[in-house]
């Protein structure tokens, strides 16, 4: 295994041109904390963005930050916090889940479209990503988007590379829209609801005018379930909305109120799939569906195989752990088909990731387009071959 550490975008171009000429496939890594996501790589060489670091642009009054791709996420978040701002999409930290070490980077947040529970209110990473620079498979440096949040100039390739897991290019610089950190954050916690009632409560909260920025349900045995509703904003506004929500949701019981570090820890847990980190040999899936179909979808999987799950409902997600075997994987795919959703196998041993579809299989015409897009960025297929789909 060779790891290249280019120190500039020009270095990346030279490196990629050389690899393309040699037809040598490349794995791409920031801090390599999410290396275990996707189908196992068939590469002997890795391009690390560890040498591409530094915040390149930060204008708090314009709500925008740009950084080279290898900049640690923590550094970006620290820089923002000094001006009381943040990446509002709440990027998850999957190190505990994946058992990885190292520093998550801002480029990988973009490449994986890594988002968190505030997605319902502010969108995913892709929604906040407003500009990218990357090197395509021809060794060309390409810019798309920019540093302003409204931009409809030409095709939006920013969206394509967000969530492409490095299959389309080596990101060298990313620019995100940011938002202020609110004055107060408070979470209502309802106890003992079953999945159906919890989702009904969360849907009522999310369908209210009270700007819920997080909604989650963590089922528990023996009435230990917790259903969370988060509110953020200025003090007077939070106080008012908490009162209104309690009234709106009164049929679901008398909620507790969690704030400060306890509240932050609760949401970090939801964000990072903490309830499913252990036992670590279990496979972990991230399933997306419409709210009203969520409980039935989860129950269908639970009926077909032994499974545990929780709902990051602001993100429209079911996080679910099963045995790491093909039968369970088949049960997940079957249930998502029947209940119209789609699933990503976020954690599993390499042999299972090699044996089953990690990302949701696509209908034939979409697969054709996907292959075409891949070829248009990376005609020799050198970036992360097969990480998302065979032949892509």
């Amino acid at each position: 295994m060779t790891t290249h550490r280019p120190a500039s975008e020009d270095d990346v171009r030279a490196l990629v041109s050389d690899a393309a000429a040699r037809a040598v496939p490349l794995a791409l890594a920031g801090g390599a904390t999410k290396r275990a996501v996707g189908r196992p790589a068939q590469t002997q060489e890795t391009v690390s963005t560890a040498g591409l670091t530094g915040v390149t642009l930060y204008e708090p009054a314009e709500l925008v930050i740009g950084a080279r791709a290898g900049t640690p996420l923590a550094e970006v978040e620290r820089t923002l916090a000094e001006k009381n701002q943040r990446l509002a999409f709440e990027p998850a930290d999957w190190r505990a889940l994946l058992g990885s070490e190292g520093e998550p980077t801002i480029g990988a947040v973009a490449a994986g479209n890594i988002s968190g529970p505030r997605r319902i209110m502010v969108g995913a990473a892709r929604d906040a990503l407003i500009g990218v620079r990357f090197v395509n498979g021809r060794g060309e440096a390409v810019k798309n988007g920019g540093r302003v949040m409204k931009n409809v100039t030409g095709l939006d390739l920013v969206k394509l590379v967000a969530g492409a897991w490095g299959t389309l290019g080596v990101l060298t610089e990313v620019t995100f829209k940011v938002l202020p950190i609110p004055e107060r954050t408070a979470t209502l916690v309802f106890s003992g609801l079953d999945d159906e009632r919890a989702i009904a409560a969360l849907s009522a909260a999310l369908g209210s005018p009270y700007e819920v920025t997080g909604a989650a349900h963590i089922p528990g045995d023996g009435g230990g379930a917790g259903t969370l509703v988060r509110i953020e904003g200025f003090e007077a506004s939070v106080r008012y909305r908490l009162g209104e929500l309690k009234t709106l949701l009164s049929e679901y019981g008398e909620p507790g109120l969690v704030e400060g570090e306890d509240g932050a820890a609760l949401w970090r847990g939801v964000r990072d799939a903490a309830p499913l980190v252990q036992p670590s040999e279990r496979a972990v899936w991230k399933i997306s569906t419409a709210p009203s179909r969520g409980p039935a979808l989860a129950a269908a999987i639970g009926a077909a195989c032994e499974a545990r799950w929780f709902y990051d409902w602001g993100g429209g997600l079911i996080w679910l752990a099963t045995a790491a075997d093909e039968a369970a994987a088949a049960a997940v795919r079957e249930a998502t088909r029947a209940h119209r959703g789609h699933a990503t196998l976020v954690r599993a041993p390499a042999d299972l990731r090699a044996a089953v579809d990690v990302f949701e299989p696509l209908p034939a015409p979409m697969m054709t387009l996907t292959r075409g897009i891949k070829a248009s960025f990376d005609p020799k297929g050198i970036f992360e071959p097969g990480r998302m789909y065979a032949g892509v």
């Binding site: 409204k150 202020p180 849907s203 369908g207 200025f234 993100g315 387009l369």
Partner: protein, 487 residues
């Protein structure tokens, strides 16, 4: 006429009768428009200085009809221009003589509404406002609100990734879409995304949004609907200098307040709008902000009190918080009538560029110099929170050469936007209007990557071909169709 159109394909023009004959059985009899008089209604959009009579117009009523027409056109090498309501200010829906216009105006139904999941599936010819109206009885709305929302279609909104005054808080079209039904150039119908927040694979939903009819025709959309805030209240503030006004905007955002709208008007714009709408705008200021907040009465009072406090050091000469519905309506009426009111005093072209807001003072000064340099006038209204400028460059059509001067001034302004770190278009799209300026924002490698992506969807370059990319676009794309290396 300074914007070039490609020379029509004589072979296609010569086959017109056969093409009409081929199209006729594919759609209902009244959906095929062939006479010159009737085609005339489709020869331009809101960029009315340019007109081209299309080969034919079809107005399908189903996705299947769109598919059949697309298949026929691609099999016969006929260009296709997609059209919603034709409100494009950038000429995105202006046809060509050798192209068939496919209009989606008859595809205007709501298919499904789900309040629990906060989603709605609509046909793409429905107007933006009709979507909100269809869910208003439950207190919901569709967030992106372009100024043309009464007339424009969701198909056009998707094509241009439209925004509006309230997108500082709610985002633009791409942030409010969940799924699309798209007819590809060969007639294949694909479903992209669905009724959930995430879609698997590459983000084709994001790619389609803003692609200006070059990747396919959208026939259905699943959109997010949101519960409306309990109330909304605007305030207006006038400043003695552009500098103080800009600094006040920065201070508001720096204090952690994201108003639902933050609109800027300069002195000429204030005067024009006030004369038309009698909104009570201050006439003794250089710049004015309209700031709208949302929530309950208590929340709005709190937010407005904070904003007023933040504004104090910047010496607002005028400060008016709407106390009644009528006052609120008056404040917005002035702003929303900016384009119409300007049209009463002069001919004008409405530009649409975005700048980093920190560059505001410099850019406004340069815009004034540029426009004066051409002997013309300008009024500026824009979305101050996100830096989306709309300079209205005024001229007199009756004076020979003035429109061309206005276009040149407009192009200079857009180049200025790019120069300071912004972009050519924030919400109107590139269309034909800004096509030839694309090379100022993107270099050849940047553009080629976009062209290769375009080629994946439309290898024969049939879909809205004279738009967005420089006319030599296909030559720029040396790699050819589907991104394969040239032999």
């Amino acid at each position: 006429m300074s914007i070039a159109f490609p020379t029509p394909d004589e072979a296609v023009l010569a086959r017109r009768d056969a093409i009409l004959e081929g199209l006729a059985p594919l759609v209902a009899p009244d959906a095929l428009i062939v006479t010159e008089d009737e085609r005339r209604a489709f020869d331009t959009d809101a960029l009315t200085a340019y007109r081209k009579l299309p080969l034919a117009v079809v107005l399908p009523s189903t996705t299947e009809e769109v598919s059949a027409v697309m298949r026929f056109c691609s099999e016969n090498g006929v260009k296709v221009v997609a059209r919603g309501a034709g409100t494009s200010l950038a000429g995105g829906a202006i046809p060509q003589e050798d192209a068939v216009v496919i209009g989606v105006s008859k595809l205007n139904r709501v298919l499904e509404t789900n309040f629990a999941d906060r989603t709605m599936r609509v046909q793409s010819g429905i107007t933006n406002l009709a979507i909100s109206q269809a869910v208003a009885h439950e207190g919901f709305f569709y967030a992106p609100d372009p100024s043309s929302q009464l007339a424009c279609t969701i198909a056009g909104n998707v094509a241009m990734n439209s925004g509006g005054a309230h997108c500082l808080k709610y985002g633009v079209t791409t942030n409010n879409l969940l799924g699309l039904t798209v007819v590809l150039v060969d007639g294949t119908v694909v479903e992209i995304g669905g009724d959930m927040l995430d879609a698997p694979g590459y983000d084709f939903l994001g790619l389609m949004t803003g692609s200006e009819g070059q990747l396919g025709i959208v026939t259905e959309a699943t959109v997010r609907i949101l519960r409306a805030a309990e109330g909304a209240r605007p305030a207006l503030m006038g400043f003695e200098s552009i500098e103080e006004c800009g600094a006040c905007v920065a201070a508001i955002i720096g204090a952690g307040i994201i108003p639902v709208a933050l609109e800027y008007m300069d002195k000429p714009a204030i005067e024009i709008c006030e004369a038309f709408a009698h909104a009570g705008y201050p006439l003794d200021v250089e710049a004015m902000l309209i700031i709208e907040v949302e929530g309950s009465d208590e929340e709005m009072e709190d937010a407005l009190a904070r904003i007023v406090e933040i504004a104090k050091p910047f010496n607002p000469r005028a400060l008016k918080v709407a106390q009644t519905e009528a006052e609120a309506a008056a404040i917005w009426k002035g702003r929303k009538s900016a384009f119409g009111a300007t049209g009463r005093v002069a001919d004008y072209i409405c530009m649409d560029g975005t700048i980093p807001t920190g560059q505001l003072k410099y850019v406004l000064k340069r815009i004034d110099e540029i426009v004066k340099g051409y002997g013309l006038g300008v009024a500026n209204v824009f979305h101050a929170g996100d830096g989306n400028l709309h300079p209205l460059v005024m001229f007199d059509t009756n004076k020979p050469g003035e429109m061309e001067k206005a276009e040149e001034a407009g192009a200079d302004i857009l180049k200025l936007c790019v120069e300071v770190g912004g972009c050519l278009t924030g919400e109107h799209g590139v269309g034909i209007e800004k096509r030839d300026l694309m090379t100022t924002q993107y270099n050849r490698e940047d553009l080629r990557q976009q062209l290769r992506v375009r080629g994946v969807f439309d290898p024969m370059w049939l879909l809205n071909p004279a738009k967005v990319f420089p006319l030599e676009g296909r030559d720029l794309d040396e790699a050819g169709a589907n991104g394969r290396e040239a032999a």
